[in-house]
Symmetry: C2
DNA sequence: GCGAAGCCTTGATGCAGATCAACTCGACCG
DNA sequence: CGGTCGAGTTGATCTGCATCAAGGCTTCGC
Protein backbone atom coordinates (compact mmCIF):
# COMPACT_ATOMS: atom_id res chain seq x y z
CA UNK A 1 0.00 0.00 0.00
CA UNK A 2 1.27 3.43 -0.94
CA UNK A 3 2.25 5.94 1.65
CA UNK A 4 -0.14 8.80 2.32
CA UNK A 5 0.69 12.26 1.06
CA UNK A 6 1.54 13.59 4.50
CA UNK A 7 0.40 12.98 8.03
CA UNK A 8 -3.27 13.72 8.40
CA UNK A 9 -4.16 16.61 10.62
CA UNK A 10 -5.45 15.02 13.80
CA UNK A 11 -8.62 16.57 15.16
CA UNK A 12 -11.28 16.40 17.79
CA UNK A 13 -14.77 15.63 16.50
CA UNK A 14 -15.82 18.83 18.24
CA UNK A 15 -13.85 20.95 15.83
CA UNK A 16 -14.51 18.78 12.77
CA UNK A 17 -15.79 20.83 9.83
CA UNK A 18 -18.34 18.19 8.84
CA UNK A 19 -19.50 17.45 12.35
CA UNK A 20 -23.12 18.40 11.69
CA UNK A 21 -23.57 17.08 8.17
CA UNK A 22 -21.90 13.65 8.10
CA UNK A 23 -23.18 10.27 9.35
CA UNK A 24 -22.28 11.38 12.84
CA UNK A 25 -24.51 14.47 12.64
CA UNK A 26 -26.84 13.37 15.40
CA UNK A 27 -24.32 11.74 17.71
CA UNK A 28 -24.05 13.04 21.26
CA UNK A 29 -20.80 13.55 23.18
CA UNK A 30 -20.75 10.01 24.46
CA UNK A 31 -21.33 8.49 21.04
CA UNK A 32 -18.62 10.66 19.55
CA UNK A 33 -16.27 9.27 22.14
CA UNK A 34 -17.20 5.77 20.99
CA UNK A 35 -16.59 6.73 17.38
CA UNK A 36 -13.28 8.19 18.43
CA UNK A 37 -12.18 4.72 19.48
CA UNK A 38 -12.70 3.26 16.03
CA UNK A 39 -11.71 6.12 13.77
CA UNK A 40 -8.53 7.36 12.17
CA UNK A 41 -7.70 10.05 9.62
CA UNK A 42 -5.98 9.59 6.31
CA UNK A 43 -4.81 12.14 3.73
CA UNK A 44 -4.41 11.60 0.01
CA UNK A 45 -2.92 13.89 -2.55
CA UNK A 46 -4.76 14.97 -5.69
CA UNK A 47 -4.80 12.33 -8.39
CA UNK A 48 -4.18 9.40 -6.06
CA UNK A 49 -6.58 6.45 -6.20
CA UNK A 50 -7.84 5.84 -2.67
CA UNK A 51 -9.65 2.60 -3.39
CA UNK A 52 -9.71 0.20 -6.33
CA UNK A 53 -12.95 -1.53 -7.29
CA UNK A 54 -12.78 -5.10 -6.03
CA UNK A 55 -10.40 -4.30 -3.16
CA UNK A 56 -11.23 -5.70 0.20
CA UNK A 57 -12.54 -2.85 2.37
CA UNK A 58 -11.82 -2.83 6.07
CA UNK A 59 -13.22 0.61 6.68
CA UNK A 60 -16.01 2.97 5.76
CA UNK A 61 -15.77 6.71 6.27
CA UNK A 62 -16.51 10.32 5.50
CA UNK A 63 -14.79 12.84 3.28
CA UNK A 64 -13.62 15.58 5.66
CA UNK A 65 -12.13 17.96 3.11
CA UNK A 66 -11.38 17.92 -0.59
CA UNK A 67 -13.20 16.26 -3.47
CA UNK A 68 -13.12 12.68 -4.69
CA UNK A 69 -14.89 10.81 -7.45
CA UNK A 70 -16.41 7.35 -7.79
CA UNK A 71 -15.73 5.82 -11.17
CA UNK A 72 -16.53 2.65 -13.09
CA UNK A 73 -14.67 1.45 -16.15
CA UNK A 74 -15.25 -0.96 -19.00
CA UNK A 75 -12.42 -3.35 -19.94
CA UNK A 76 -11.37 -1.20 -22.88
CA UNK A 77 -10.83 1.83 -20.66
CA UNK A 78 -14.01 3.83 -21.18
CA UNK A 79 -14.76 5.33 -17.79
CA UNK A 80 -17.84 6.90 -16.26
CA UNK A 81 -17.97 8.85 -13.05
CA UNK A 82 -20.87 7.60 -10.93
CA UNK A 83 -20.48 9.76 -7.86
CA UNK A 84 -18.88 13.03 -6.85
CA UNK A 85 -17.89 13.03 -3.19
CA UNK A 86 -17.84 16.33 -1.33
CA UNK A 87 -17.01 16.98 2.31
CA UNK A 88 -19.40 15.04 4.59
CA UNK A 89 -20.22 12.44 1.93
CA UNK A 90 -20.00 8.82 2.99
CA UNK A 91 -17.70 6.22 1.42
CA UNK A 92 -18.27 2.48 1.48
CA UNK A 93 -21.21 0.30 2.31
CA UNK A 94 -21.75 -1.28 5.70
CA UNK A 95 -22.11 -5.02 5.26
CA UNK A 96 -20.19 -5.14 2.01
CA UNK A 97 -16.82 -6.89 1.80
CA UNK A 98 -15.38 -5.46 -1.39
CA UNK A 99 -15.34 -2.01 -2.90
CA UNK A 100 -17.74 -1.68 -5.82
CA UNK A 101 -16.13 1.41 -7.37
CA UNK A 102 -12.83 3.15 -7.78
CA UNK A 103 -12.43 6.17 -5.53
CA UNK A 104 -10.03 8.80 -6.85
CA UNK A 105 -8.92 12.02 -5.16
CA UNK A 106 -9.69 15.01 -7.39
CA UNK A 107 -8.06 17.47 -5.02
CA UNK A 108 -6.10 16.73 -1.86
CA UNK A 109 -8.46 14.78 0.37
CA UNK A 110 -8.72 14.07 4.09
CA UNK A 111 -10.90 11.16 5.13
CA UNK A 112 -12.24 10.13 8.49
CA UNK A 113 -12.20 6.33 8.42
CA UNK A 114 -14.12 4.02 10.74
CA UNK A 115 -13.02 0.43 11.16
CA UNK A 116 -15.77 -1.47 9.43
CA UNK A 117 -16.80 -4.14 11.92
CA UNK A 118 -16.90 -1.91 14.98
CA UNK A 119 -18.82 0.65 12.95
CA UNK A 120 -21.36 -1.95 11.88
CA UNK A 121 -21.79 -3.00 15.49
CA UNK A 122 -22.29 0.56 16.55
CA UNK A 123 -24.90 1.09 13.82
CA UNK A 124 -26.92 -1.76 15.23
CA UNK A 125 -26.93 -0.26 18.68
CA UNK A 126 -27.39 3.35 17.59
CA UNK A 127 -30.35 3.58 15.19
CA UNK A 128 -29.98 7.26 14.41
CA UNK A 129 -26.69 6.59 12.65
CA UNK A 130 -28.48 4.28 10.26
CA UNK A 131 -31.28 6.83 9.95
CA UNK A 132 -28.83 9.53 9.02
CA UNK A 133 -27.18 7.21 6.53
CA UNK A 134 -30.59 6.47 5.03
CA UNK A 135 -31.25 10.17 4.51
CA UNK A 136 -27.88 10.65 2.89
CA UNK A 137 -28.34 7.59 0.67
CA UNK A 138 -31.77 8.77 -0.46
CA UNK A 139 -30.25 12.13 -1.37
CA UNK A 140 -27.55 10.39 -3.38
CA UNK A 141 -30.16 8.28 -5.14
CA UNK A 142 -32.04 11.43 -6.13
CA UNK A 143 -28.82 12.93 -7.43
CA UNK A 144 -28.06 9.75 -9.37
CA UNK A 145 -31.49 9.87 -10.99
CA UNK A 146 -31.09 13.50 -11.99
CA UNK A 147 -27.77 12.49 -13.46
CA UNK A 148 -29.35 9.62 -15.40
CA UNK A 149 -31.70 12.06 -17.10
CA UNK A 150 -28.68 14.15 -18.02
CA UNK A 151 -26.69 11.18 -19.35
CA UNK A 152 -29.54 9.63 -21.26
CA UNK A 153 -31.34 12.58 -22.76
CA UNK A 154 -29.43 15.83 -22.71
CA UNK A 155 -27.29 17.33 -25.48
CA UNK A 156 -23.64 18.15 -24.89
CA UNK A 157 -24.46 21.82 -24.40
CA UNK A 158 -27.24 21.05 -21.95
CA UNK A 159 -24.95 18.69 -20.06
CA UNK A 160 -22.31 21.36 -19.60
CA UNK A 161 -24.88 23.96 -18.63
CA UNK A 162 -26.47 21.56 -16.15
CA UNK A 163 -23.14 20.81 -14.57
CA UNK A 164 -22.31 24.51 -14.24
CA UNK A 165 -25.75 25.09 -12.76
CA UNK A 166 -25.14 22.42 -10.12
CA UNK A 167 -21.84 24.00 -9.14
CA UNK A 168 -23.34 27.46 -9.24
CA UNK A 169 -26.30 26.50 -7.10
CA UNK A 170 -24.08 24.91 -4.50
CA UNK A 171 -21.93 28.00 -4.41
CA UNK A 172 -24.84 30.39 -4.33
CA UNK A 173 -26.07 28.67 -1.18
CA UNK A 174 -22.71 29.00 0.53
CA UNK A 175 -22.01 32.58 -0.55
CA UNK A 176 -25.58 33.79 -0.14
CA UNK A 177 -25.56 34.83 -3.81
CA UNK A 178 -24.09 38.28 -4.20
CA UNK A 179 -26.32 40.80 -5.95
CA UNK A 180 -28.95 39.88 -8.51
CA UNK A 181 -28.25 36.57 -10.19
CA UNK A 182 -24.47 37.04 -10.50
CA UNK A 183 -22.83 33.76 -9.50
CA UNK A 184 -19.09 33.06 -9.32
CA UNK A 185 -17.19 29.83 -8.68
CA UNK A 186 -14.21 27.70 -9.66
CA UNK A 187 -14.39 24.47 -11.63
CA UNK A 188 -13.15 21.76 -9.30
CA UNK A 189 -12.54 19.26 -12.11
CA UNK A 190 -10.26 18.97 -15.11
CA UNK A 191 -11.85 18.83 -18.55
CA UNK A 192 -11.24 15.11 -18.59
CA UNK A 193 -12.97 14.53 -15.25
CA UNK A 194 -15.89 16.67 -16.44
CA UNK A 195 -16.05 14.49 -19.55
CA UNK A 196 -16.18 11.37 -17.37
CA UNK A 197 -18.91 12.97 -15.29
CA UNK A 198 -21.02 13.94 -18.29
CA UNK A 199 -20.46 11.00 -20.61
CA UNK A 200 -18.62 13.11 -23.19
CA UNK A 201 -15.08 13.42 -24.53
CA UNK A 202 -12.79 16.08 -23.17
CA UNK A 203 -12.71 17.77 -26.58
CA UNK A 204 -16.47 18.14 -26.59
CA UNK A 205 -16.39 19.54 -23.07
CA UNK A 206 -13.82 22.11 -24.14
CA UNK A 207 -15.76 23.07 -27.24
CA UNK A 208 -19.05 23.49 -25.40
CA UNK A 209 -17.49 25.60 -22.69
CA UNK A 210 -15.99 27.80 -25.40
CA UNK A 211 -19.41 28.00 -27.05
CA UNK A 212 -21.15 29.07 -23.82
CA UNK A 213 -18.43 31.69 -23.36
CA UNK A 214 -18.85 32.93 -26.95
CA UNK A 215 -22.61 33.17 -26.37
CA UNK A 216 -22.09 35.17 -23.16
CA UNK A 217 -23.82 32.59 -20.99
CA UNK A 218 -20.67 32.47 -18.87
CA UNK A 219 -17.41 34.40 -18.53
CA UNK A 220 -14.10 32.68 -17.97
CA UNK A 221 -11.03 33.94 -16.18
CA UNK A 222 -8.20 31.52 -16.77
CA UNK A 223 -9.32 27.95 -17.33
CA UNK A 224 -11.20 27.43 -14.14
CA UNK A 225 -12.77 30.60 -12.80
CA UNK A 226 -16.37 31.00 -13.93
CA UNK A 227 -18.75 33.96 -13.69
CA UNK A 228 -22.42 33.51 -14.55
CA UNK A 229 -23.94 36.92 -15.30
CA UNK A 230 -27.52 35.63 -15.54
CA UNK A 231 -28.24 32.42 -13.70
CA UNK A 232 -31.72 32.01 -15.16
CA UNK A 233 -30.22 32.12 -18.62
CA UNK A 234 -27.90 29.27 -17.60
CA UNK A 235 -30.84 27.27 -16.26
CA UNK A 236 -32.64 27.67 -19.57
CA UNK A 237 -29.59 26.32 -21.35
CA UNK A 238 -29.56 23.38 -18.95
CA UNK A 239 -32.94 22.44 -20.35
CA UNK A 240 -34.63 21.15 -17.23
CA UNK A 241 -37.83 22.23 -15.71
CA UNK A 242 -36.75 25.71 -14.62
CA UNK A 243 -37.18 26.48 -10.92
CA UNK A 244 -34.60 23.90 -9.84
CA UNK A 245 -37.06 21.53 -8.25
CA UNK A 246 -36.47 22.12 -4.56
CA UNK A 247 -38.10 19.05 -3.12
CA UNK A 248 -39.11 18.93 0.51
CA UNK B 1 -58.53 11.34 -9.23
CA UNK B 2 -59.15 8.52 -11.68
CA UNK B 3 -60.87 5.39 -10.60
CA UNK B 4 -58.74 2.30 -10.10
CA UNK B 5 -58.87 -0.48 -12.66
CA UNK B 6 -60.84 -2.79 -10.44
CA UNK B 7 -61.12 -3.49 -6.76
CA UNK B 8 -57.80 -4.55 -5.32
CA UNK B 9 -57.55 -8.10 -4.09
CA UNK B 10 -57.61 -7.82 -0.29
CA UNK B 11 -55.02 -9.93 1.49
CA UNK B 12 -53.49 -10.85 4.76
CA UNK B 13 -49.81 -9.95 5.20
CA UNK B 14 -49.25 -13.59 6.00
CA UNK B 15 -50.08 -14.65 2.47
CA UNK B 16 -48.50 -11.63 0.78
CA UNK B 17 -46.13 -12.66 -2.00
CA UNK B 18 -43.56 -10.02 -1.07
CA UNK B 19 -43.80 -10.57 2.65
CA UNK B 20 -40.12 -11.48 3.04
CA UNK B 21 -38.51 -9.08 0.58
CA UNK B 22 -40.28 -5.74 1.07
CA UNK B 23 -39.75 -3.07 3.76
CA UNK B 24 -41.77 -5.21 6.12
CA UNK B 25 -39.44 -8.21 5.71
CA UNK B 26 -38.31 -8.22 9.31
CA UNK B 27 -41.58 -7.32 10.97
CA UNK B 28 -43.05 -9.70 13.53
CA UNK B 29 -46.72 -10.60 13.85
CA UNK B 30 -47.44 -7.71 16.16
CA UNK B 31 -45.78 -5.18 13.90
CA UNK B 32 -47.64 -6.53 10.88
CA UNK B 33 -50.84 -5.93 12.79
CA UNK B 34 -49.77 -2.33 13.30
CA UNK B 35 -48.99 -2.00 9.59
CA UNK B 36 -52.35 -3.49 8.83
CA UNK B 37 -53.97 -0.51 10.53
CA UNK B 38 -52.35 1.97 8.19
CA UNK B 39 -52.27 0.10 4.90
CA UNK B 40 -54.59 -0.32 1.96
CA UNK B 41 -54.26 -1.93 -1.48
CA UNK B 42 -54.71 -0.27 -4.81
CA UNK B 43 -54.72 -1.72 -8.31
CA UNK B 44 -53.81 0.06 -11.52
CA UNK B 45 -54.13 -1.12 -15.07
CA UNK B 46 -51.22 -1.21 -17.49
CA UNK B 47 -50.36 2.18 -18.94
CA UNK B 48 -51.97 4.20 -16.14
CA UNK B 49 -49.86 6.86 -14.42
CA UNK B 50 -50.00 6.16 -10.67
CA UNK B 51 -48.27 9.31 -9.57
CA UNK B 52 -47.30 12.55 -11.29
CA UNK B 53 -44.05 14.26 -10.39
CA UNK B 54 -44.86 17.22 -8.16
CA UNK B 55 -48.07 15.69 -6.80
CA UNK B 56 -48.60 15.80 -3.10
CA UNK B 57 -47.98 12.31 -1.69
CA UNK B 58 -49.99 11.09 1.27
CA UNK B 59 -48.67 7.56 1.12
CA UNK B 60 -45.60 5.46 0.54
CA UNK B 61 -45.75 1.80 -0.37
CA UNK B 62 -44.56 -1.38 -2.01
CA UNK B 63 -45.21 -2.90 -5.38
CA UNK B 64 -46.99 -6.19 -4.65
CA UNK B 65 -47.31 -7.46 -8.21
CA UNK B 66 -46.68 -6.13 -11.70
CA UNK B 67 -44.05 -3.73 -12.98
CA UNK B 68 -43.91 0.05 -12.86
CA UNK B 69 -41.40 2.62 -14.00
CA UNK B 70 -40.10 5.87 -12.59
CA UNK B 71 -39.60 8.49 -15.25
CA UNK B 72 -38.37 12.05 -15.56
CA UNK B 73 -39.10 14.35 -18.47
CA UNK B 74 -37.70 17.52 -19.96
CA UNK B 75 -40.13 20.27 -20.99
CA UNK B 76 -39.93 19.29 -24.64
CA UNK B 77 -41.02 15.75 -23.88
CA UNK B 78 -37.76 13.85 -23.90
CA UNK B 79 -38.16 11.25 -21.19
CA UNK B 80 -35.76 9.04 -19.29
CA UNK B 81 -36.65 6.12 -17.12
CA UNK B 82 -34.78 6.39 -13.80
CA UNK B 83 -36.12 3.36 -12.00
CA UNK B 84 -37.78 0.06 -12.80
CA UNK B 85 -40.01 -1.11 -9.97
CA UNK B 86 -40.52 -4.82 -9.50
CA UNK B 87 -42.55 -6.61 -6.84
CA UNK B 88 -41.24 -5.71 -3.35
CA UNK B 89 -39.70 -2.42 -4.48
CA UNK B 90 -40.51 0.63 -2.42
CA UNK B 91 -42.24 3.75 -3.73
CA UNK B 92 -41.98 7.20 -2.23
CA UNK B 93 -39.67 8.79 0.30
CA UNK B 94 -40.49 9.10 3.96
CA UNK B 95 -40.20 12.74 4.98
CA UNK B 96 -40.86 14.08 1.50
CA UNK B 97 -44.02 16.00 0.71
CA UNK B 98 -44.13 15.84 -3.06
CA UNK B 99 -43.43 13.09 -5.56
CA UNK B 100 -40.12 13.59 -7.35
CA UNK B 101 -40.87 11.33 -10.32
CA UNK B 102 -43.69 10.05 -12.44
CA UNK B 103 -44.68 6.49 -11.64
CA UNK B 104 -46.28 4.62 -14.54
CA UNK B 105 -47.70 1.10 -14.56
CA UNK B 106 -46.02 -1.02 -17.22
CA UNK B 107 -48.23 -4.01 -16.59
CA UNK B 108 -51.23 -4.23 -14.28
CA UNK B 109 -49.97 -3.31 -10.84
CA UNK B 110 -51.09 -3.89 -7.27
CA UNK B 111 -49.61 -1.66 -4.61
CA UNK B 112 -49.62 -1.91 -0.86
CA UNK B 113 -49.88 1.68 0.34
CA UNK B 114 -49.08 2.94 3.84
CA UNK B 115 -50.47 6.24 5.02
CA UNK B 116 -47.42 8.42 5.13
CA UNK B 117 -47.51 10.04 8.55
CA UNK B 118 -48.39 6.91 10.50
CA UNK B 119 -45.71 5.04 8.58
CA UNK B 120 -43.13 7.69 9.44
CA UNK B 121 -44.08 7.44 13.08
CA UNK B 122 -43.78 3.70 13.00
CA UNK B 123 -40.34 3.96 11.37
CA UNK B 124 -39.15 6.04 14.28
CA UNK B 125 -40.29 3.47 16.78
CA UNK B 126 -39.23 0.41 14.79
CA UNK B 127 -35.61 0.79 13.70
CA UNK B 128 -35.43 -2.38 11.65
CA UNK B 129 -37.90 -0.95 9.15
CA UNK B 130 -35.51 1.90 8.49
CA UNK B 131 -32.64 -0.57 8.38
CA UNK B 132 -34.41 -2.64 5.76
CA UNK B 133 -35.20 0.50 3.78
CA UNK B 134 -31.53 1.47 3.95
CA UNK B 135 -30.49 -1.88 2.50
CA UNK B 136 -33.03 -1.56 -0.28
CA UNK B 137 -31.98 2.02 -1.02
CA UNK B 138 -28.31 1.08 -1.18
CA UNK B 139 -29.18 -1.67 -3.66
CA UNK B 140 -31.08 0.81 -5.76
CA UNK B 141 -28.17 3.21 -5.66
CA UNK B 142 -25.86 0.47 -6.92
CA UNK B 143 -28.30 -0.32 -9.71
CA UNK B 144 -28.50 3.36 -10.60
CA UNK B 145 -24.73 3.59 -10.84
CA UNK B 146 -24.50 0.55 -13.07
CA UNK B 147 -27.13 2.19 -15.19
CA UNK B 148 -25.15 5.44 -15.35
CA UNK B 149 -22.20 3.58 -16.82
CA UNK B 150 -24.56 2.13 -19.40
CA UNK B 151 -26.13 5.49 -20.27
CA UNK B 152 -22.88 7.40 -20.39
CA UNK B 153 -20.47 5.02 -22.04
CA UNK B 154 -22.07 2.09 -23.79
CA UNK B 155 -22.96 1.76 -27.46
CA UNK B 156 -26.53 1.02 -28.54
CA UNK B 157 -25.73 -2.65 -29.08
CA UNK B 158 -24.07 -2.93 -25.68
CA UNK B 159 -27.02 -1.20 -24.05
CA UNK B 160 -29.48 -3.68 -25.49
CA UNK B 161 -27.27 -6.63 -24.62
CA UNK B 162 -26.83 -5.32 -21.07
CA UNK B 163 -30.56 -4.93 -20.64
CA UNK B 164 -31.23 -8.44 -21.91
CA UNK B 165 -28.52 -9.73 -19.58
CA UNK B 166 -30.20 -8.08 -16.60
CA UNK B 167 -33.54 -9.67 -17.48
CA UNK B 168 -31.89 -12.99 -18.20
CA UNK B 169 -29.97 -13.01 -14.96
CA UNK B 170 -33.09 -12.24 -12.96
CA UNK B 171 -34.94 -15.02 -14.70
CA UNK B 172 -32.09 -17.50 -14.40
CA UNK B 173 -32.19 -17.04 -10.65
CA UNK B 174 -35.92 -17.72 -10.50
CA UNK B 175 -35.97 -20.67 -12.91
CA UNK B 176 -32.71 -22.19 -11.73
CA UNK B 177 -31.34 -21.89 -15.26
CA UNK B 178 -32.34 -24.92 -17.26
CA UNK B 179 -29.45 -26.83 -18.85
CA UNK B 180 -26.13 -25.24 -19.76
CA UNK B 181 -26.38 -21.51 -20.44
CA UNK B 182 -29.78 -21.60 -22.17
CA UNK B 183 -31.89 -18.77 -20.78
CA UNK B 184 -35.47 -17.93 -21.72
CA UNK B 185 -37.68 -14.98 -20.75
CA UNK B 186 -40.23 -12.44 -21.93
CA UNK B 187 -39.54 -8.76 -22.48
CA UNK B 188 -41.71 -6.93 -19.96
CA UNK B 189 -41.39 -3.58 -21.75
CA UNK B 190 -42.47 -2.12 -25.08
CA UNK B 191 -39.76 -0.94 -27.46
CA UNK B 192 -40.53 2.61 -26.43
CA UNK B 193 -40.14 1.88 -22.72
CA UNK B 194 -36.89 0.09 -23.44
CA UNK B 195 -35.75 3.17 -25.35
CA UNK B 196 -36.60 5.35 -22.35
CA UNK B 197 -34.71 2.97 -20.12
CA UNK B 198 -31.61 2.92 -22.31
CA UNK B 199 -31.47 6.50 -23.51
CA UNK B 200 -32.15 5.55 -27.15
CA UNK B 201 -34.95 5.94 -29.67
CA UNK B 202 -37.40 3.14 -30.21
CA UNK B 203 -36.15 2.69 -33.80
CA UNK B 204 -32.61 2.10 -32.58
CA UNK B 205 -33.87 -0.41 -30.03
CA UNK B 206 -35.72 -2.27 -32.73
CA UNK B 207 -32.73 -2.26 -35.06
CA UNK B 208 -30.30 -3.50 -32.45
CA UNK B 209 -32.61 -6.28 -31.38
CA UNK B 210 -32.88 -7.32 -35.00
CA UNK B 211 -29.08 -7.18 -35.28
CA UNK B 212 -28.59 -9.40 -32.23
CA UNK B 213 -31.12 -11.81 -33.69
CA UNK B 214 -29.36 -11.79 -37.06
CA UNK B 215 -26.05 -12.49 -35.31
CA UNK B 216 -27.57 -15.41 -33.40
CA UNK B 217 -26.91 -13.85 -30.00
CA UNK B 218 -30.63 -14.24 -29.27
CA UNK B 219 -33.65 -15.93 -30.80
CA UNK B 220 -37.04 -14.29 -30.91
CA UNK B 221 -40.46 -15.86 -30.89
CA UNK B 222 -43.04 -13.20 -31.56
CA UNK B 223 -42.00 -9.73 -30.42
CA UNK B 224 -41.45 -10.45 -26.80
CA UNK B 225 -40.27 -13.99 -26.18
CA UNK B 226 -36.48 -14.23 -26.01
CA UNK B 227 -34.16 -17.24 -25.94
CA UNK B 228 -30.48 -16.79 -25.22
CA UNK B 229 -28.58 -19.83 -26.47
CA UNK B 230 -25.23 -18.78 -24.97
CA UNK B 231 -25.42 -16.45 -22.03
CA UNK B 232 -21.68 -15.82 -21.90
CA UNK B 233 -21.81 -14.63 -25.47
CA UNK B 234 -24.51 -12.16 -24.45
CA UNK B 235 -22.39 -10.94 -21.55
CA UNK B 236 -19.49 -10.33 -23.92
CA UNK B 237 -21.77 -8.25 -26.10
CA UNK B 238 -22.83 -6.29 -23.02
CA UNK B 239 -19.25 -5.17 -22.70
CA UNK B 240 -18.89 -5.09 -18.95
CA UNK B 241 -16.37 -6.83 -16.86
CA UNK B 242 -17.52 -10.40 -17.46
CA UNK B 243 -18.41 -12.42 -14.36
CA UNK B 244 -21.32 -10.18 -13.46
CA UNK B 245 -19.78 -8.66 -10.37
CA UNK B 246 -21.60 -10.45 -7.59
CA UNK B 247 -20.79 -8.14 -4.70
CA UNK B 248 -21.14 -9.32 -1.10
C1' DG C 1 16.42 30.07 -20.24
C1' DC C 2 15.05 25.70 -22.14
C1' DG C 3 12.85 21.33 -22.55
C1' DA C 4 9.29 18.37 -20.97
C1' DA C 5 4.88 17.30 -19.22
C1' DG C 6 -0.01 18.49 -18.20
C1' DC C 7 -3.87 20.65 -19.38
C1' DC C 8 -6.49 22.85 -22.68
C1' DT C 9 -8.13 24.53 -27.33
C1' DT C 10 -9.21 24.23 -32.07
C1' DG C 11 -9.64 22.15 -36.71
C1' DA C 12 -10.82 18.31 -40.09
C1' DT C 13 -13.15 14.17 -40.82
C1' DG C 14 -16.07 10.05 -39.96
C1' DC C 15 -19.70 7.51 -38.06
C1' DA C 16 -23.34 5.95 -34.68
C1' DG C 17 -27.57 6.95 -33.71
C1' DA C 18 -31.47 10.42 -34.42
C1' DT C 19 -35.00 11.76 -37.42
C1' DC C 20 -38.42 11.30 -40.95
C1' DA C 21 -41.21 8.19 -43.37
C1' DA C 22 -43.34 4.07 -45.16
C1' DC C 23 -44.89 -0.32 -44.29
C1' DT C 24 -46.22 -4.99 -41.73
C1' DC C 25 -48.56 -7.57 -38.36
C1' DG C 26 -51.84 -8.80 -34.98
C1' DA C 27 -55.73 -7.59 -31.86
C1' DC C 28 -59.97 -5.77 -31.36
C1' DC C 29 -64.58 -4.27 -32.75
C1' DG C 30 -68.74 -3.17 -35.10
C1' DC D 1 -65.39 -9.40 -42.76
C1' DG D 2 -63.22 -4.88 -43.33
C1' DG D 3 -61.51 -1.03 -40.64
C1' DT D 4 -58.84 0.90 -37.22
C1' DC D 5 -55.36 1.31 -33.87
C1' DG D 6 -51.15 0.31 -31.44
C1' DA D 7 -46.76 -1.97 -31.62
C1' DG D 8 -42.93 -3.12 -34.25
C1' DT D 9 -39.79 -3.17 -38.41
C1' DT D 10 -37.03 -1.30 -41.95
C1' DG D 11 -35.12 2.18 -45.17
C1' DA D 12 -33.10 6.89 -46.40
C1' DT D 13 -31.03 10.78 -44.83
C1' DC D 14 -29.12 14.02 -41.56
C1' DT D 15 -26.33 15.58 -37.64
C1' DG D 16 -24.08 15.83 -33.10
C1' DC D 17 -20.49 14.08 -31.10
C1' DA D 18 -16.30 11.08 -31.36
C1' DT D 19 -12.00 10.55 -33.28
C1' DC D 20 -7.64 11.93 -35.05
C1' DA D 21 -4.36 15.48 -35.20
C1' DA D 22 -1.85 19.77 -34.35
C1' DG D 23 -0.61 23.42 -31.56
C1' DG D 24 -0.86 26.90 -27.34
C1' DC D 25 -0.21 28.02 -22.46
C1' DT D 26 1.60 27.12 -17.76
C1' DT D 27 4.32 24.98 -14.52
C1' DC D 28 8.30 22.62 -13.11
C1' DG D 29 13.05 20.97 -12.92
C1' DC D 30 17.61 21.61 -14.37
Amino acid sequence: MLKDAHDPTPRECGECPIRHRAVCARCDAQELEQLDQIKYYRSFEAGRTLIWAGDRMDFVGSVVSGIAMLTQTLEDGRTQMVGLLLPSDFVGRPGREKAAYNVVAVSDVVMCCFRKHPFENMMEKTPHIGQRLLEMTLDELDAAREWMLLLGRKTAREKIASFLAILGRRNAVLNMSKAAGQVVFDLPLTREAMADYLGLTLETVSRQISALKRDQVIHLEGKRHVTVPDFDRLLEEAGDDSDGGMLA
